[in-house]
Amino acid sequence: MVEKEIDYVKMLQEKTGWGVENVPYPEGVALIEARWDLCIGCGYCEMACSMFHFGVINRELSRIRIFRYLLPAPKSFQNVCCQCDEKERECEKACPLDPPVIHYDKEKFHMVVDVDRCLGYKCGQCLKACPAKVPRFYPPEHNYALVCDLCEKDGVRRPQCVEVCPSFALEFMKPQFPQHLQRIHPDEKAKWMAERLIPLNPHKAQITPEELFGGDK
């Protein structure tokens, strides 16, 4: 058997990408893991997502969203579905319809929404139930829950956000620990990240000159 040789020199010369696309994608259960320490908040993931699913540039139609905070240094965090384990799937449990409109497809290994049956923004039970507030709605045109489907098309999964991210801040991988532990609301992420800046807080970018030098001049 002759193994297929990869021409690394050619790959380097052609600058085909950032390198992420050369990491083999997982089979079976997998998720998009957000490395928020690396996120620079450019929003390419949002653009790639809306282009793949709707063919337009519109971050409001994206299933991954960037939240920006001032901690007081500006920091961005991604918010994306982590395809929770069965017992932790709050959105599925919360759906008022039977069978649930939002559910996990065990063959495709990602969440699915039955677009035609979804009650839309006014119901919003899945959004309320999700601790990370991941499901999104875009009424009136796309009034159903938008959740990550790992860009699955005919059984092939190529998450566009992962492939486009210029800072390796998104990884498509097998779960390394219980998935729902990644299910963190961006507000919470910001709170954790802000611990790096203690004793400063979002209202205070530095110790004031008055505190340093005294006097009220």
Binding site: I40, P72, K75, Q206, I207, P209
Partner: protein
């Protein structure tokens, strides 16, 4: 179908809001800086006091705002130079206006009765009371407003632009601040916002942007991020602090208010030390893979704890130009300037001027209200900055900026003020490079980060996109023109030929120049630099002398004018104006300058 452009116009005096179709104007003047000049020409009468309600404040966006950085170009008559004013603010503000449906920008006219902030959420536009925000520093005002609005909106992805105390007190070089590290700082845009009693603008959009061809745009952008990696390498890692050491060694960076060509203090500005000791993370503007905003956090006293960021506008000004020893100390001062809401670059020039005057004895400790303003004295710098921001004591005069202040403090010495058209020259040392020197001089609006006066740079500000990427773009797309035409085709649906593109460049740059001429700018008279650069020799680290030759300066300036498509006198030629469809400026120009060639 070509994209339609809508501008949101808010009359603060009456509270009236309307949507104006500016598709025609966008097509001619592209948007941003170019269209800003046209709006000022149309809507502000000649000789208007910039701080009066008759002035306008335009948050300008362009056809490709939000791709490669979301630049908002803020236009108004400048209180600092009393001429055309404009300033760029990157970040995420402009794209939010586009998502809100105002892809022709936001225009503020008149003056609010009391402090207000403007709340824009798609079609909801409200002028709300801001008395609780008035007097607050950055970023406290932004965070307070963010917490307040978060109660209304289920997510907090809206963007805020604010002014600090300096803007409220109409300090003539006050800035508009967005997300702490993005500022429309130059030429006193914050003072204009303050004069309109607008403390903040909060925008959130959720509509579908009306681009012409999404797929084409997406392909162009993918090509860009996969191939345009060069800028990412350095800037992502160090931010703008990376350019400083190189500039000190090239003698293109001012030292001790331009009195020296080298000082050992320069070697303390080491990006590596800053990165390894204090870097937090990298942060980017909208759809830009470079991520050149690099926040730092220093914990080691003195002057800590502080967060800070070394940007191109504060990097040189608050460094060896005021003899601050290195980035470690500079992060503190830079952030203090940001919290006050001052233009880092301009106010550092004012302080450097005062320092030299104090050094020479023309200004005394009593004049400064008891401040010992010696070189590199951080405490004194902070105290004088606060005086300027709150207009206390001598700060009241210094707050007038380098065009008006030297006349108010005549004993200090006008010759020590390093300025071009009233804008401080801080981060640049013209003696190191003739092209830099001419670049500083020929910008009709005043010194704005070196070569900001070329038609190409004006077009970057008009499109609007980040001109930092201009070195990288030709490597990917062949030329700036190729790239821009492609982007415009995708975003706006304009099919431009190479010649159309050149005309587009000239139209935006001529419009700005004509407006400046209307307000009293005479190119040959005003495009000069302070005498110091032609009379005092400085020496670089290796003892090589650096000085500008006046004759060579004039010669290069003339060549530069011609390369801009102007006459040798720096005036737009009549025939070209007519070709570009700008006949309406000719009578005004002839009234000011005599018959046009």
């Amino acid at each position: 179908m070509e994209t339609k452009y809508q501008m949101l116009e808010i009359n603060l005096t009456t509270g009236e809001k309307k949507i104006v179709d500016i598709t025609e104007e966008m097509r001619l003047f592209t948007g941003g800086r170019g269209l800003g000049a046209k709006l000022l020409w149309d809507r502000v009468p000649p000789g208007t006091d910039p701080l009066s309600p008759a002035n306008i404040l335009w948050f300008g966006v362009g056809p490709i705002t939000g791709f490669m950085g979301s630049v908002t170009n803020v236009s108004a008559m400048s209180p600092l130079t009393l001429n055309r004013g404009q300033s760029n603010m990157n970040g995420h503000f402009g794209i939010e206006l586009i998502y809100a449906g105002y892809n022709g920008g936001l225009l503020l006219t008149g003056k609010a009765e009391k402090p207000v902030y403007i709340y824009i959420k798609d079609d909801t536009v409200e002028i709300r009371d801001a008395s609780h925000l008035w007097g607050r520093f950055n970023p406290d005002n932004q965070e307070t407003l963010r917490e307040e609005i978060k109660k209304d909106l289920d997510d907090q992805n809206f963007r805020i632009a604010t002014i600090g105390p300096a803007g409220e007190n109409l300090v003539r070089n006050a800035s508009i601040d967005h997300d702490l590290y993005h500022h429309a700082a130059r030429l006193g845009m914050g003072a204009v916002m303050g004069s309109k009693n607008v403390k903040a603008i909060a925008v959130k959009g959720s509509k579908q942007p009306s681009y012409h061809d999404h797929d084409f745009l997406y392909r162009t952008l993918l090509k860009w991020i996969k191939e345009g990696l060069d800028e990412k390498v350095g800037r992502r890692r160090w931010g703008h602090s990376v350019s400083m050491p190189e500039r000190y060694y090239a003698t293109t960076e001012g030292i001790k208010n331009k009195q020296l060509g080298w000082d050992p203090i320069c070697d303390l500005s080491n990006p590596l030390k800053l990165e390894q000791g204090a870097k937090l993370w990298s942060d980017a503007c909208n759809l830009c893979h470079v991520g050149c905003k690099v926040p730092y956090m220093r914990r080691i006293p003195p002057y800590a704890p502080t967060t800070g960021e070394i940007r191109h506008d504060n990097a040189g000004g608050w460094n060896a130009n005021v003899m601050i020893p290195g980035y470690d100390v500079q992060t503190y001062v830079s952030t203090y300037v940001d919290t006050l809401g001052l233009d880092s670059e301009d106010v550092s020039g004012v302080v450097a001027w005062m320092m030299e005057c104090y050094d020479r004895g023309t200004i005394t400790k009593e004049d400064l209200g008891g401040i010992e303003l010696t070189w590199g004295n951080v405490e004194a710098i902070c105290r004088i900055l606060k005086k300027i921001a709150f207009r206390e004591g001598i700060g009241d005069k210094l707050a007038e900026g380098l065009k008006l202040a030297p006349a108010l403090i005549p004993q200090a010495g006008k010759q020590y003020a390093m300025t071009s058209k009233g804008v401080a020259i801080t981060s640049y040392e013209p003696r190191g490079s003739m092209s830099d020197a001419v670049g500083l001089a020929v910008n009709p609006v005043g010194e704005l980060h070196g070569g900001r006066g070329t038609p190409e740079r004006i077009m970057f500000d008009s499109l609007t996109t980040c001109s930092f990427l201009r070195r990288n773009i030709p490597m990917v797309f062949g030329s700036i023109g190729n790239w821009a035409r492609r982007m415009l085709k995708g975003a706006a649906g304009w099919d431009l030929s190479e010649e159309d593109w050149q005309n587009q460049l000239l139209r935006a740059s001529f419009m700005e120049r004509c407006l400046c001429i209307r307000e009293g700018y005479v190119p040959e008279r005003d495009d000069v630099l302070p005498e110091r650069f032609f009379k005092e020799t400085i020496y670089n680290k290796y003892g090589e002398p650096k000085i500008l030759s006046w004759d060579k300066f004039l010669e290069t300036r003339k060549k530069t004018y011609l390369s801009f498509g102007l006459t040798e006198q720096g005036i737009p030629p009549r025939q070209k104006l007519q070709e570009l469809g700008m006949d309406f400026v000719i009578p005004t120009l002839e009234e000011k300058l005599g018959t046009l060639k």
